[in-house]
Point group: C2
Chain length 586, copies 2
C-alpha cells in the first residue's frame, strides 16, 4: 500500500472540506445539527413545493431540487450554515428561460429546466476553476436592487392568477395590467377567500406567533422557530380544511395528484434536446450563474462575519456549481442560497454542513411517503406562501438612498427596474450589467492629457497650465496619464488632432509615455491612425520615455516601423533633437 | 413676416447641412455628381437585389432600402461620399433577428424586418441626441475583426445552398457541416455549373478587366469603374443566357416574378405586430445600431482624412438613424454604409451628398420599369455576387497580429469568432462586447493600495516599501490611488481585512483619500461593510484628506454617522490624534 502524498491530500481537502471537519465531528455537534435540520425541513417543504410550481414544474421536483444538491454541497462547501435549495427568484427565471424554448408542462420543458440548472452549474465550476469570481462584481448594488425589486413584483403578479382563480398573463407588467383589466370581473369567490385567508393567517402568524407563545411560557428560541415555520402550519391547516370541506368540488384549484418517489438520476432527457436549446439557454445560464454566486457570497460573507468563521469564496463557488449540476441530473431546476433558510439554520443552532446531509434524508422521506397528503392543497395557499416570502427581495428604500447619493447609479437602477418589468427578467439583468459597465467605461473614456513644457534650467517637463514652463511653437509635447485602451484611445486621437489644428505651426508631436503601462490592440490601431492622419498634415509623431514592457509589446507590432517620427529615451532628448527643425519661412 | 432668428437657423443647418452646401451647388458639381451616381447605381442594383434575398425578403425591397434612406441621409449628412444601403452583414443579422420572431417569407417577417430597421434608426437618433457616441468604442478592434470574419463565413455558408441547388441549414457552423454531409450528394449539376461559372467570371473580371481595358486604350479611370461594375455585367449576361437557354426549365432556381413599384410608405404592418415582437427585437436593434455606427464612422473618418474634409460624427449618427427610420417606413430593412460603394463614389468623382439624391431617382426608375427583367436571373448568380463581396469582411491576418501583440485581445477575438460561428451572430457580438468590458474591469479591479508611514521630521506620508518612513504598530495607514467603484471596492475591502488579520496589534485603520475622486454606491456599501467588519474585530476605521466633492457626496449617505472612527483633515492629524490610543497591555 502506498501512502497518499500530503500534497494530493491537501488538494482533496480543499475540494472536499468535509474530509477536514468530518474528522472532529462529535455527538454534541450531531445533536445540534439534527435539531437545525428538522426545523429547516419544516420550513423548506412548503417552499420547495411552491417554488417548483412557480418554475412551471410538478411540486415534487421542488423536493428533488433540495436533496442531491444539498448532499453534494455539504461535501464541498466551506460555510457552516448555507445550503442550496429552490428560491422564488431562480424559479421565476428558470420558468422564463425554459419557457422560451418549450411549452410549459411538456417533457421538453422539464428537460430544458434541468439542462439550465446543469449549465448554471458548469458555468460556476468553470468560473471557479478560472478564478473569475471578480466577474460577479459587475452586478453592482444598484443593479441588483433594481432587478430584485422588479422581479419580486413580477413574481407577485404571477401569483395573482392563483389568488383570483382566473387566467392572467404576467410575462411583463403591461401584459399583466391588460389581462387583469379584462379578467378581474370573473374572480372566483371561494378561491379568493381561501387565498386571502391564507395570506392573512401567514402575516398574523409571522407577527404574533412568537410573542403569544412566549407569553404562554414557551422558550423564546422555540417560539421563534415555530413562528418561522408558519407556512407549514398554514399548509397543513389548508390541507385538512380542503379535504374535509371538499374545496375542490367548489371549484377551488388544488395541487392534485403528486407523483411520489426519489428523483430519477439520468441525463437521457437532456441529451435528447437539440443543440438550438443549448444555444438559447447559454445566456440565461451565464446571467443566472452570476446572480446565484453574488447572492450566495453576500449571504455567506454576512454569516461568516457574524459567526467569526473563515470563508473560502472559491470553495463556495465550486460547491454551488456542483450542487446545480446535481440538480440538473436529478430532473430538478436551478438552486441557490436563501437568506431566510440560512438564518433559520443559524438560529436553530446548526454547527456544520452535516445539516445539509440530514435535511436531505428528511426530504427524501417526505418525497417517498408524504406527497399523497398534498392532493387537496389549494394552489391559492401556495400562492400566499410565495407572496409572503417576497419582502426579502424588495428594497424600495434603495431608490431613495441611491438617488440621493449618486444620480448615475440611480439611472442604472431605474433602467434595470423598468427593463425587468416591461421586457423580461433576463433583459433587465443584462441591461443593468451593461449600464454599469458603460458607466465605468464612460468615466474612464477621457484620459487626462497635459501639454508639457520645459522647466527652465532643468531637464524636467511639466503641465503648461500649472507651471511656468517654456515651449517651442513647432513642437507639441503631450503627456498621457493613463494606460491606453479601446475606450480612451479614440478620445486621445481626436484631442491631438484638435490641438494640432489649433496650432498650425506645429511640425512635431512628442507623446511622453511615462505613465502608460499598457496599450491594447484597439489603442494601437488608434496610434497608427493618428500617425497616418498627422503624417497627411505634414506633422511627425514621436514617442518619448516608453516603459520597457510597453516597448517590448510595441516591437511585436508594425507601429514602430510605420512611425513618421522617432522614439526617444527622454522627453528632453526629443525636444533637443527636434529644436533645430523649425518650419521653413516660405 | 418674421425673420428667422440666426440661432434657429444655425440649428436647422446643423441638422440639415444641405441648407449650407446646397446654396453653393453649381453646374460643375452637378456634372460630377451625376457621373458618380450613374456608376454607383450600376454597382448598387445587383447588390441591393442580392442582399434583399439574403435578408429573406423579396429582391425589390433591396431597391426600396436604397431610395428614401438615401434621400433622407443626403439631407442630413456631413460626409460628402457616404451613402446608406443594404449590406451583406446587416442583411444576415436582420434575417437572424426577424427570423427569431416570425417565419421567413411571412407578412409578419417582412413587418418585423422593417420594424427592426425602425428600431435601429430610433436607437441611433437617441444615442445621437444624448451624445452617446463613445458607447460605440465598446466594439473594440479585436471583437469587430473576430465578429466580421465569422459573419462572412456564415454568410458564405448560407450561399452554398444556392450554389449547390440543395436545401442546407446554415444557422450555425455545426448545423451547416451536418446538413452539407447529408445533402452534398444531391447537388444539382446545372445549378452548380451556373454558380461556379458566375463566380469564376466575377473573379476574373475583377482582376483582369481593368488591365485588359487599359491595354485596349480605355482611360484608366473608366476602366477601373467598368471593372468595379463587374457584378452588373455578370448579372446581365446570366439573365440573357438563362432566358435564351431556358435554364429554369432545366431545374435551375431563378428569381421569378418580382413585384415592381415604389415602396409603400406605411406604418400599418408595424403597428399590427404584438409588443412581444418589439421586446424580442430591442437587443438585436441595440447591437445592430452600435455596429452600424462603428462601421459608418470608421469609413467616414477614413474618407474625411483622404479628402481633407471636416467630419461631424453627431451629424453622421443622426443621418444614419433617420435613414434607418426611413427604411423601416419604406417596408425595407436595416441599411448601413459600405466601404466598397463609398470608394466607388469617391473614385468616380462624386463631390456632394447630392449623389445620394440622384442615385435614389435612378433606383426608383429601376424599381418602376426594370424589375421584370430579373425574372430569369438564377439565384446561384446572386449567391456568387454575395460570395465575391465577402473579402472586405474577413481579416484572418488580424488573428496573427493581435495574437502576437496582446494575448487577452486575441482571447476576446477568438471568443467572438467562435460564439458567432457556433451560436449566432448576435450572441457572438454580445459575447465580444462583454469580454472587452470584462477585460477592462479586470484590469481596473485591483486598485493600487500603499501602506504609508511618516517621513521623519515632516508631515508627509509615503509608501513604506519605497521610502524610509516611520509607522506605529497600532495604526495602519493606507493610501488608495484610484476612485472607488463597484469593480475595485470589493478588493479593497478584502485587502484591508487581510492586512489587519496579519497585524493583530492594529486598532485603527486610517484611509488616506487624497487620490479618490469619486465613490459609487457599490463602493459605499463596501466601505460600510468594511467599517462593520473591522468594528466586529475591535478595529476602528478613520478617513483622512477626503476631497471636497467626495465629502459632499458622503454626507448624503449614512456612512459618516455609522463610521466607527473619525474624519481627519490631514493624515498627519489623524496619526497624531490616534498615537496615544495604544492597546492596553493585558
Amino acid at each position: 500500500m502506498r501512502a497518499v502524498s500530503p500534497n494530493l491530500m491537501s488538494t482533496w481537502t480543499a475540494w472536499f472540506p468535509i474530509l477536514h471537519w468530518g474528522r472532529s465531528y462529535d455527538r454534541r455537534a450531531a445533536l445540534a445539527d439534527v435539531t437545525a435540520s428538522a426545523v429547516v425541513t419544516l420550513l423548506l417543504i412548503p417552499q420547495a413545493l411552491a417554488y417548483a410550481v412557480l418554475a412551471g414544474l410538478p411540486p415534487v421536483t421542488g423536493l428533488w431540487a433540495s436533496m442531491l444538491p444539498m448532499v453534494i454541497y455539504a461535501l464541498m462547501c466551506s460555510s457552516t450554515v448555507l445550503g442550496p435549495g429552490p428560491t422564488a427568484l431562480r424559479s421565476m427565471m428558470s420558468l422564463a428561460a425554459a419557457g422560451s424554448v418549450a411549452a410549459v408542462g411538456s417533457a421538453d420543458f422539464a428537460a430544458a429546466s434541468a439542462l439550465l440548472a446543469l449549465l448554471v452549474g458548469v458555468t460556476l465550476l468553470v468560473m471557479g476553476a478560472l478564478r473569475l469570481g471578480f466577474v460577479a462584481h459587475v452586478l453592482s448594488r444598484p443593479v441588483l436592487a433594481g432587478f430584485m425589486t422588479a422581479a419580486a413584483l413580477l413574481i407577485a403578479m404571477g401569483q395573482v392568477r392563483h389568488l383570483l382563480g382566473v387566467p392572467l398573463q404576467a410575462d411583463d407588467a403591461l401584459a399583466f395590467v391588460r389581462s387583469l383589466w379584462h379578467h378581474a370581473h370573473a374572480t372566483h369567490g371561494p378561491t379568493l377567500a381561501v387565498g386571502v385567508g391564507a395570506l392573512g393567517l401567514l402575516l398574523v402568524l409571522r407577527r404574533a406567533a412568537k410573542p403569544v407563545l412566549v407569553r404562554l411560557g414557551v422558550p423564546a428560541a422555540v417560539a421563534g422557530l415555530v413562528a418561522k415555520a408558519a407556512p407549514l402550519w398554514v399548509m397543513l391547516l389548508a390541507i385538512a380544511l380542503s379535504h374535509g370541506m371538499g374545496w375542490a368540488q367548489h371549484g377551488v384549484a388544488v395541487v392534485g395528484e403528486v407523483p411520489r418517489g426519489l428523483p430519477p438520476l439520468t441525463v437521457q432527457p437532456l441529451l435528447q434536446l437539440p443543440w438550438s436549446v443549448v444555444q438559447a439557454l447559454l445566456w440565461p445560464a451565464l446571467l443566472m450563474a452570476l446572480l446565484t454566486f453574488v447572492e450566495q457570497i453576500s449571504i455567506a460573507q454576512d454569516m461568516a462575519a457574524r459567526r467569526r468563521e473563515p470563508l473560502d469564496a472559491n470553495a463556495e463557488m465550486r460547491a454551488m456549481g456542483a450542487a446545480n449540476v446535481a440538480a440538473g441530473l436529478s430532473a430538478a431546476f436551478n438552486v441557490g442560497a436563501s437568506f431566510g433558510r440560512t438564518a433559520v439554520v443559524a438560529d436553530a443552532g446548526g454547527r456544520t454542513p452535516a445539516v445539509g446531509l440530514i435535511t436531505a434524508v428528511l426530504l427524501a422521506l417526505t418525497a417517498l411517503y408524504l406527497t399523497p397528503l398534498l392532493h387537496a392543497l389549494p394552489m391559492a395557499v401556495l400562492a400566499a406562501i410565495i407572496l409572503t416570502s417576497l419582502g426579502a427581495l424588495t428594497d424600495w428604500g434603495s431608490f431613495v438612498r441611491h438617488g440621493r447619493y449618486a444620480r448615475a447609479d440611480l439611472a442604472a437602477q431605474v433602467l434595470t427596474f423598468a427593463t425587468t418589468l416591461l421586457v423580461d427578467l433576463l433583459s433587465g439583468l443584462a441591461a443593468g450589467v451593461l449600464a454599469s459597465l458603460l458607466l465605468h467605461v464612460a468615466r474612464s473614456s477621457r484620459p487626462h492629457i497635459a501639454v508639457v513644457g520645459n522647466v527652465p534650467g532643468t531637464e524636467h517637463y511639466r503641465n503648461v497650465l500649472r507651471h511656468p514652463v517654456v515651449t517651442q511653437p513647432h513642437i507639441l509635447g503631450l503627456r498621457v496619464d493613463e494606460s491606453l485602451f479601446f475606450a480612451n484611445a479614440p478620445y486621445l486621437e481626436q484631442r491631438i488632432i484638435e490641438l494640432v489644428a489649433r496650432q498650425p505651426q506645429v511640425r512635431h508631436v512628442v507623446l511622453q509615455c511615462s505613465a502608460i503601462n499598457a496599450i491594447d490592440t484597439s489603442a494601437l490601431e488608434s496610434l497608427r491612425a493618428l500617425n497616418d492622419r498627422l503624417g497627411a498634415a505634414g506633422v511627425r509623431l514621436h514617442l518619448s520615455e516608453v516603459k520597457g514592457p510597453v516597448m517590448d509589446q510595441l516591437q511585436r507590432s508594425d507601429l514602430l516601423q510605420r512611425l513618421s517620427g522617432q522614439v526617444f529615451l527622454t522627453h528632453h532628448q526629443a525636444v533637443q533633437a527636434l529644436a533645430g527643425d523649425t518650419p521653413s519661412q516660405d
